[in-house]
């Protein structure tokens, strides 16, 4: 039971972070129909910005969090304006390649700015490293902080879509961009907003993750891979699906590593994903496939 609780907590924490990265994918994909291959690099770059603010400049963690999210939002908007909007009417392949280009530019920038100063940058824990017992379950305070942060972000997200005008316009654009344009919605602005929100979520995930890991210029790809897997598993257009997919990927990794062997940890989530996609190609919470007759 103790082993199970450790593994579950570990899996849920990691899964929550994968879910956040996946959420960024889904937001951009829903609005634009494009997979943003720069999502992992948004995560990496904003993580470094947070490191500069918190570690180098000594700014409070929560203030750092807010700054990093704001920076992420601006970076996402800028990406849309310089890399996406000018070719917005091109085919999907060109649009996807534009995001790949942005990913390489961000990685190159990070290597130039931070790559030669240290190899792996440590972000100090924001909580006590000592575990605490919640009933019979041992919990690391940092894990609780990550889970709480993830929950807050998700609630804000739900509130944004449910209660704000921008959120509703975004949903309308995602459902039918042409209809949205006909009713006067500036869909180009919605795309900018989608990129901004996607990058802001990546920033939030990065600042939450940073105390659990080390930052380095190539960290984005690992999170991109797991986040993308989570998004596909949940259904590429489903926001709750992204979080569910992330949780499943995280828990599958942790359980397989603990109960089978650590060598199957990396493989296990992809086996689960393959199985799910064979049975339900649109993902767990994606729209059911319709057939034209």
């Amino acid at each position: 039971m103790l082993l199970f609780s450790y593994l579950l907590m570990s899996g849920v924490t990691t899964g929550a972070l994968y879910g956040l990265v996946a959420l960024g994918f889904v937001v951009v994909n829903k609005a634009t129909g494009v997979i943003n291959f720069a999502q992992g690099e948004f995560f990496m770059f904003t993580g470094f910005i947070a490191w500069m603010l918190h570690v180098q400049l000594g700014i409070n963690y929560l203030v750092t969090f807010a700054f990093a999210v704001a920076f992420g939002f601006a970076l996402g908007c800028l990406t849309d304006r310089i890399a996406f909007r000018p070719i917005a009417k091109s085919d999907v392949v060109s649009l996807v390649l534009a995001t790949v280009g942005i990913a390489f530019i961000l990685k190159g920038l990070a290597r130039t700015i931070w790559g030669g100063k240290a190899d792996y940058l440590a972000f100090p824990p924001i909580t006590s490293p000592d575990p605490i017992m919640v009933g019979s379950i041992m919990v690391i305070p940092q894990q609780l902080a990550v889970l709480a942060g993830t929950a807050v972000i998700l609630l804000l997200f739900v509130a944004f879509f449910r209660f704000t005008r921008a959120g509703k316009m975004m949903q309308a654009t995602a459902d039918n961009a042409r209809a949205a344009r006909l009713v006067g919605i500036r869909t180009d602005r919605i795309y900018t907003l989608a990129f901004g929100i996607g990058a802001a979520i990546a920033a939030a995930a990065a600042v939450l993750t940073a105390p659990l890991t080390l930052l380095y210029p190539d960290i984005g790809f690992a999170f991109f891979l797991k986040g993308f897997a989570a998004a596909v598993l949940g259904g590429l257009s489903s926001l709750p699906g992204a979080v569910l997919g992330g949780m499943i990927v995280g828990i599958a990794e942790s359980m397989a590593g603990g109960y089978i062997h650590s060598s199957v940890m990396e493989l296990s989530p992809f086996i689960v994903i393959m199985a799910v996609l064979v049975l339900r190609p649109s993902g767990l919470l994606g729209p059911a496939k319709t057939r034209r007759v």
Binding site: Y6, S10, A122, P125, P129, F221, S254, G258, S262, E266
Partner: protein, 394 residues
């Protein structure tokens, strides 16, 4: 008449002689009457810069010192750097550029093992004398290429040292946690052979991804076996994740690292959890810590030439390696050729550098010139200590 022509003949003869001499020198790439161009390759950017840029900085201060003393046989040494970005294709391209475009006479370098291993063929084909300063892949020096020597410890030497150290520390239940990428496999295979040869069965053999952000499952599995020593075949990043999680879960065996994590001070910072690295020991290619008073001279030179840098063990890799190169260049004589330098490497026997834990010895049949790893420990918040030196015989 004849007398009046004599000075002209003499001048002509002298000109021809100088021309012939110059031609002979020009035939040897990178060598002129007053300079020798040396190429260096390794990562200048990215995480691998530790094994590239920092040893290069060490090499450069040695060359500066030699140049300040008049050079070698009257020739000043010039260093040409090339970034291999820790990447196989880039390493091959770097070698081609240094050899064909920059026309360097010899090479000293090699940071990331996989990149250097990939470039071995290009180096061998170019027949350029090469001294490796940091790459540890066995395949770089075994079987020996005629022109490639190494002052870096190799994977199998370090692996054997890790097992010997565990035994010397009285470990009875040895476990391993390793990465299974090309770097990890290059160490894992010789480790398993050494363990088998010594009749040691691992109590656990766990894997950790280089990109891992959580090692809870691995730590729990290791803890369940009551391992008293864990051999770590990990880069600093996954190693830090493992050590953090081991501390959190109350698992405190003797953790045995290798030269991939050669700076215990940097590692303590990366782990970031007070006390977590208390039972961590690691291999260093060099005998001294950067703080050791014996390194004052080199600290001053490095920190003066590269403002903002603090002397690192990786600088020392380059310093030791460059001293071996300088010695070989001296032995190769003033009529310098690549063949002579290559032959001179093989004559280095029992040579003491300022940094290596034991004497450096090369031979025609064994180009692994450094077989004396030093063991480092760092008490939490305290200084780095050199615990012991293990000498590998074969």
């Amino acid at each position: 008449m004849l007398m009046s022509r004599l000075p002209r003949f003499a001048a002509l003869a002298a000109a021809l002689a100088i021309g012939a001499g110059a031609h002979a020198l020009a035939a040897e790439p990178g060598v002129t009457a007053d300079s020798i161009r040396i190429g260096t390759f390794g990562a200048l950017t990215g995480p691998g810069y530790l094994y590239g840029k920092l040893p290069m900085n060490g090499v450069e201060v040695v060359l500066d010192e030699v140049n300040a003393a008049g050079g070698i046989h009257g020739r000043k040494l010039q260093l040409v750097r090339e970034d291999d970005r820790c990447d196989a294709a880039s390493a091959i391209a770097a070698i081609q550029k240094l050899v064909h475009q920059d026309q360097v006479f010899a090479l000293i370098g090699g940071g990331c093992s996989n990149a250097t291993f990939a470039a071995r063929e290009a180096i061998e084909t170019a027949k350029i004398p090469t001294l490796i300063f940091a790459s540890v892949h066995d395949g770089i020096t075994v079987p020996p290429a005629p022109n490639i020597y190494s002052t870096a410890l190799t994977s199998s030497i370090e692996s054997e040292a890790q097992v010997l150290f565990a035994q010397q520390q009285g470990a009875k239940r040895i476990a391993m946690i390793s990465m299974k990428d090309a770097w990890g496999r290059a160490r894992y295979a010789p480790l398993m052979e050494i363990l088998k040869a010594k009749g040691i069965a691992l109590v656990a053999d766990e894997e950790l991804s280089p990109d891992a952000n959580d090692a809870t499952a691995q730590v729990l599995r290791l803890k369940a076996t009551n391992a008293d020593a864990v051999i770590m075949v990990l880069y600093p990043k996954p190693a830090a994740v493992y050590i953090r999680d081991a501390q959190k879960l109350g698992f405190k065996p003797l953790n045995i690292g290798q030269s991939g994590i050669a700076d215990p001070a940097a590692f303590e910072e990366q782990v970031g959890v007070p006390g977590a690295t208390a039972s961590f020991r690691t291999i260093s290619q060099v005998k001294f810590t950067p703080e050791d008073p014996a390194m004052d001279k080199w600290r001053k030179l490095v920190e003066t030439k590269f403002p903002g840098d603090r002397l690192s063990v990786y600088n020392l890799f380059g310093i030791g390696s460059a001293q071996v190169l300088v010695e070989a260049l001296k032995r190769a004589g003033s009529d310098l050729t690549r063949e002579k330098l290559q032959a001179a490497f093989a004559t280095i026997k029992g040579f003491n550098t300022d940094v290596h834990p034991g004497p450096v010895t090369c031979s025609q049949s064994d180009h692994r010139c450094h077989k004396s790893p030093a063991w480092l420990a760092k008490d939490p918040g305290g200084p780095i200590r050199v615990l012991a030196v293990t000498t590998i015989e074969n």
